[in-house]
């Protein structure tokens, strides 16, 4: 198998890359924990008015989900165009559904 020549060199290179990837994932995990704690503290202490809290909570959730999708589920890596298309397609339908149900009940 010709593609396996110098396999040790590429392996150590790939190993190093995977290690760096793991560090990025650890950082994103730490950030997700921090965002979770912020969200709970804001609600538990009641430090802000309801109208301000809800958008903040939603933004914190969306950032967390982005970390989860792009780092933990590797959507930032190459060859993830189709997964991204599927997820954004799903999210588009999700937004329409929630918005549609919201409009018929609140208007």
């Amino acid at each position: 198998m010709t593609e396996n020549t110098n396999s040790n060199e590429t392996n150590s290179f790939q190993k190093q890359k995977r290690k760096e990837e793991m560090q990025k994932q650890l950082i994103s995990f730490a950030l997700m924990i921090v965002f979770t704690i912020i969200a709970f503290v804001v609600v538990a202490t009641g430090m802000m008015d309801g109208m301000f809290v809800i958008p903040i909570l939603l933004i914190l959730a969306i950032i967390q989900v982005a970390f989860q999708l792009y780092y933990f589920m590797h959507m930032k890596d190459k060859d993830h165009e189709m997964p991204a298309l599927m997820m954004y397609g799903g999210m588009w339908a999700a937004i329409l559904t929630v918005a549609g149900l919201g409009v018929i009940s609140w208007w």
Binding site: N4, S7, T10, N11, Q14, K15, R18, E21, M22, Q25, L26, F29, M32, I33, T36, A39, F40, V43, A44, G50, V53, I54, L57, L58, L60, A61, Q64, V65, Q68, L69, F72, M73, D79, M82, P83, M86, M87, G89, G90, M91, A93, A94, I95, T97, V98, G100, L101, G102, I104, S105
Partner: protein, 207 residues
């Protein structure tokens, strides 16, 4: 070269989960499924947001929910997401034993989450008489959170099945995609939970 040998190469390729055509198809098909799951949960979330104030004289979300338990559940599920990242890290380094170890930790954390959720539901039913049939809020709440809990239950059964089935086989190009799709599923469960603890519990406390 025999079929068995091509699935058990001496050096593993860089991305064993996508090295075979079957693996590639599983990868794409599973992401397609996750896109569909997004729509499914959106319907349940939309229903919940619409009906969350229709309590029919029963307890409101503010009276019911306790943030301490939800926080513990969030940390358990978020940590189990990280441990499955570790499992995939060891899979890519072709270290089967360490992968199984981290998958085992993922399963333990998942069971912890499930135990908390069962405790939570029985608490609501016995202390507050808040059931699936008590109000539209109750139906929407149990449908959404229960469906997520059902996903966790299914995920745990799936994980234990592939861990036991492949325990003596070791890692090869046939089962690497199976472990990888499980990890995608497990991360997606955490994605849904992030929205549940935000929209259901935290926004339920704010009002």
């Amino acid at each position: 070269m025999s079929h068995d040998h091509s699935l058990n190469p001496e050096t593993m390729p860089n991305e064993p989960e996508k090295a075979t055509l079957e693996g590639k198809n599983k990868f794409l098909g599973f992401w397609f499924f996750l896109g569909g799951e997004t729509v499914l949960f959106a319907c349940l979330f939309g229903t919940y947001i619409t009906l969350r104030n229709s309590t029919a004289g029963g307890p409101t979300s503010n009276e019911l929910f306790g943030l301490e338990l939800v926080f513990i559940m969030t940390i358990l599920l978020l940590s189990s997401s990280l441990t499955s990242v570790y499992a995939m890290y060891h899979m890519k380094n072709n270290d089967f034993k360490k992968m199984q170890l981290w998958l085992g930790i993922t399963a333990i954390l998942g069971f912890g989450f499930l135990a908390c959720e069962i405790y939570e539901f029985t608490h609501y039913i016995h202390e507050y008489e808040f059931t699936f049939r008590s109000s539209a809020f109750g139906s929407a709440f149990y449908a959404l959170v229960g469906f997520h809990g059902g996903h966790v239950t299914f995920g745990l059964s799936w994980l234990i099945a592939i861990m036991i089935r492949n325990a003596k086989r070791g890692l090869n190009l046939y089962n690497a995609p199976k472990f990888y799709t499980f990890s995608l599923y497990w991360h997606f469960i955490d994605v849904v939970w992030v929205f549940i603890f935000t929209v259901v519990y935290l926004m339920g406390k704010v009002g």
